[in-house]
């Protein structure tokens, strides 16, 4: 069988990838590979990737867009892979023979077994908990990984209901690491041929918290925001008249003048003035004493609009940034100037707003995204894997 990769440019032009993975992590790796120009064929069971049914209630409009964003620029092939890897399945075996890379969820044991028999393949296995250990066979997920890696200890209050980090951080970071592992294995291919790579949601989040683990190992004393994230109350930023803000004052030379310029003379007579004035950097934002002094700054900054406060703080060498939610971020003048938000086509043929690939290459620019596929849209073509067939669809 021949599989002529769709060639659209980009650093991975010509790379043939099979994605037999659902949810967020595996498809995220596939999205990044496709963004970089790889030809990604998404193999789905007849019921389809579970994210095709993910939705945000009560909004009808958002239904399915998570799938569309994660799966843009891919082709969809429906194959009912037999539960036993001994059973013949020419459709999947032919694809595996022709591919360079396979992304597969660890729960799909039969496909992992089939894939690793092809010694030329780079097989990236995505699991909840990792390939070894007592939890190796258990299904994992976003919240399970967040809780067990204690990612949730940096939110909410100890003893209360855990607060989930709202972005699918475990899954997206895992997709990012999967992509790195695949690329590194491509670089090593000439020397060692195909190999298996394992990444997990649990391991990825633990890795992302490395700064904290090193801080906890044997610090000279308990100091700094890494350690403090355990003991601080929830952080909402500082409230100005029109938005919340964060500020950093490490470069401020004249703290008294800054406080005066912000009309915060009331702080001079506060019993905490000495603490505030002796190390201005530690008194605000991520500083060591920020939690103790928070109400003083809230009172002071609430007299100003954000732009006014920012101008005063910057005049003294500090930094200030406003809190934007995702909508405000997407329409921010700078973000629009950069061109981060782009139109993309969904699996229903309609346009939706997506974001561009996160890297910019001087010589091998990433190709523009192609539509996300409807379930099984390319089945007859991609099994034969003929380029002309694809282009007719």
């Amino acid at each position: 069988m021949t599989w002529d990769a769709i060639r659209v440019g980009g650093p991975l032009e010509g790379l043939k990838v099979i994605e037999y993975a659902e949810g967020v992590a595996g498809p995220m790796a596939g999205r990044l590979l496709a963004d970089a120009g790889a030809d990604v064929v998404k193999v789905e069971p007849p019921r389809g990737d579970r994210t095709r049914g993910w939705a945000f209630a009560p909004s009808e409009v958002a239904s399915g867009r998570i799938f569309d964003a994660l799966n843009r620029s891919k082709r969809s092939v429906v194959i009912d892979v037999p539960r036993s890897s001994e059973e013949s399945c020419p459709a999947i075996d032919q694809l595996l023979s022709a591919a360079d890379v396979v992304i597969v969820d660890a729960g799909e044991l039969e496909l992992v077994d089939r894939a690793v028999k092809h010694l030329h393949l780079i097989v990236c296995v995505i699991s909840g908990w990792g390939p070894d250990g007592p939890w190796a066979g258990l299904p994992g997920g976003e919240l399970p990984a967040q809780l067990s890696s204690e990612t949730t200890s940096s939110l909410g209050q100890a003893g209360e209901e855990p607060v989930r980090l709202g972005t699918d951080h475990a899954s997206i970071v895992t997709g990012t690491y999967a992509m790195q592992g695949i690329l590194a294995a491509i670089l090593a291919f000439d020397e060692v041929g195909g190999q298996r790579i394992d990444v997990s949601l649990f391991g990825s989040l633990i890795h992302m918290r490395s700064t904290l683990w090193v801080s906890l190992s044997n610090p000279d004393r308990w100091k700094g925001f890494h350690l403090d994230s355990y003991v601080r109350p929830p952080e909402f930023g500082y409230q100005t008249k029109d938005s919340r803000m964060i500020c950093s004052l490490g470069r401020v030379q004249n703290a008294v003048q800054l406080i005066t310029d912000l009309n915060m003379e009331f702080a001079f007579t506060d019993s905490r003035w000495e603490l505030l004035s002796t190390d201005i950097a530690a008194a605000v934002g991520l500083g060591d004493n920020a939690a103790i002094l928070h109400d003083i700054w809230d009172r002071g900054l609430s007299q100003w609009k954000f732009r006014e406060a920012k101008a005063i703080i910057e005049r003294h060498g500090g930094w200030a940034t406003e809190y934007l939610d995702h909508h405000a971020f997407s329409i921010d003048e700078h973000v629009r100037t950069m061109g981060v938000i782009i139109p993309s086509a969904g699996s229903d043929g309609k346009s939706f707003l997506d974001i561009r690939a996160p890297w910019k290459f001087g010589e091998t620019p990433a190709p523009p995204p192609r539509p996300a596929p409807a379930l099984g849209q390319h089945t007859p073509q991609a099994v034969r894997c003929d380029r002309d067939d694809y282009e007719q669809t």
Partner: protein
């Protein structure tokens, strides 16, 4: 070349990684500071690349890597946490002799990485034009906060600030409360570092095909957007994210429940099969045919009603009961674990997800192990270098090469 590295403590493992990792033979000139750049090159070092990390010769060790607290034996924890798996050289990039030395070293490198502000690389004689002329195969990577132009181009690209502006704070908070900041300030830096490492690897793969180096740019704004893709896409469709505690926005039931012994268990149902299994495991067969919960969209729409049914069920039994029941039924769940438990947990140790590293000056440090396991080209984690330790060797190497 590698035989000349002094075998100080864990340098054995630096050597091991350079012999086994998938990036063996790749050399990286690492002119980066703070977290984004060092995080990226640390990953490359873990995969076997030889990373030459540059520090200024006169730096106070407590102030390295932005002087993030705490210190460990007087050295900033950030330097230690973000510079494992590297060699370290001293160069004063304002000194013409050191600039010339840097150029000679860069001739031997595959990758140059910097996260200087726009314009600073040019002043240090480290512009793309200059370096690509010296070494046409060079991958030249820059990471910035906001890119090179636009109204915020001069703003500080610092984790807490990028979290604020990119909305990373805006999709979480205690149930019914205000949305809140993520207090482990490092995730936007780390996510950008991950994207930067990816960009470098992509350019190296492209070089195999094209035979040419190239310029690569990454910004914290782009990387932060990618790191929040699913929620950002919902927002772009008009969704408003309220604070809903441990519950998920796009799937249900998917939250933490309090058990009878006041411990929590996270239960994550994200497919129809898992929903069927949960109903059976809870002994609630009638929920399977309840049209309010017919599929994920219905369950998300009726999340409050569904959770009102499930909360008392979980509250009636202990965490251990639910751990047994859910694992037997094949339903994804997780238990909150703390640092001291994690550090000696079988699941962590058997997968090497945390590693204990002996260091020459800072005692035993625990850090996250490599996030990828390669079956044929294993990655490694090794001690951060003593600042400047490889300077003389590099001087000798490129001096002889002249």
């Amino acid at each position: 070349l590698f035989n000349d590295v002094p075998a100080v403590g864990s340098h054995d493992t630096v050597l091991a990684a350079r012999k086994t990792g998938p990036l063996r033979g790749i050399r990286v000139f690492d002119l980066t500071a703070y977290q984004v750049g060092p995080w990226a090159t640390m990953l490359l070092g873990s995969m076997g690349a030889e990373v030459l990390h540059v520090e200024h010769p006169d730096t106070d060790w407590s102030q390295l890597s932005a002087g993030v607290q705490p210190t460990v034996n007087g050295t900033s924890v950030a330097y230690l946490a973000w510079n494992m798996n590297k060699r370290s050289i001293f160069l004063d990039m304002k000194n013409p002799d050191d600039q010339a030395l840097a150029h000679r070293i860069i001739r031997t490198c595959d990758v140059f990485v910097n996260n200087m502000r726009p314009g600073a690389a040019e002043r240090a004689k480290m512009s793309y034009e200059e370096l690509s002329a010296i070494n046409p195969l060079l991958i030249y990577c820059s990471a910035t906060g906001y890119g090179r132009s636009g109204p915020r181009a001069g703003d500080a690209g610092v984790d807490g600030h990028i979290q604020a502006i990119s909305g990373f704070w805006s999709t979480q908070g205690a149930r019914g409360g205000q949305r809140e900041t993520y207090r482990h300030y490092s995730q936007m830096d780390g996510s950008t570092g991950n994207i930067l490492a990816q960009a470098i690897l992509l350019a190296l793969v492209a070089r195999k095909r094209t035979g040419k180096g190239q310029r690569v740019d990454v910004t914290m704004i782009d990387a932060s957007a990618t790191a929040q893709l699913t929620r950002l896409i919902e927002s772009l469709e008009g969704v408003k994210h309220a604070a809903i505690g441990s519950s998920a926005y796009a799937t249900a039931p998917d939250r933490a429940f309090k058990c009878k012994d006041h411990r929590w268990i996270g239960v994550s149902v994200t497919s129809e099969l898992e929903w069927q299994r949960l109903c059976s495991a809870l002994g609630c067969e009638m929920l399977k045919s309840d049209e309010r919960f017919e599929d994920n969209r219905c369950r998300v729409s009726n999340r409050a009603e569904l959770e009102n049914i499930l909360v008392p069920i979980f509250a009636a039994r202990t965490q251990a009961y639910w751990e047994f029941t859910l694992s037997s039924a094949g339903i994804p769940f997780g238990l909150p674990l703390g640092w001291s438990t994690l550090r000696c947990h079988e699941q962590v140790i058997e997968n090497g997800y945390m590693q204990e590293i002996d260091t020459p000056l800072w005692g035993r440090l625990c850090t996250g192990g490599p996030p990828w396991h390669f079956s044929k080209t294993p990655a490694q984690t090794s001690s951060p270098p003593i600042p400047g330790e490889a300077t003389a060797e590099l001087q000798a190497e490129v001096g002889l090469a002249e």
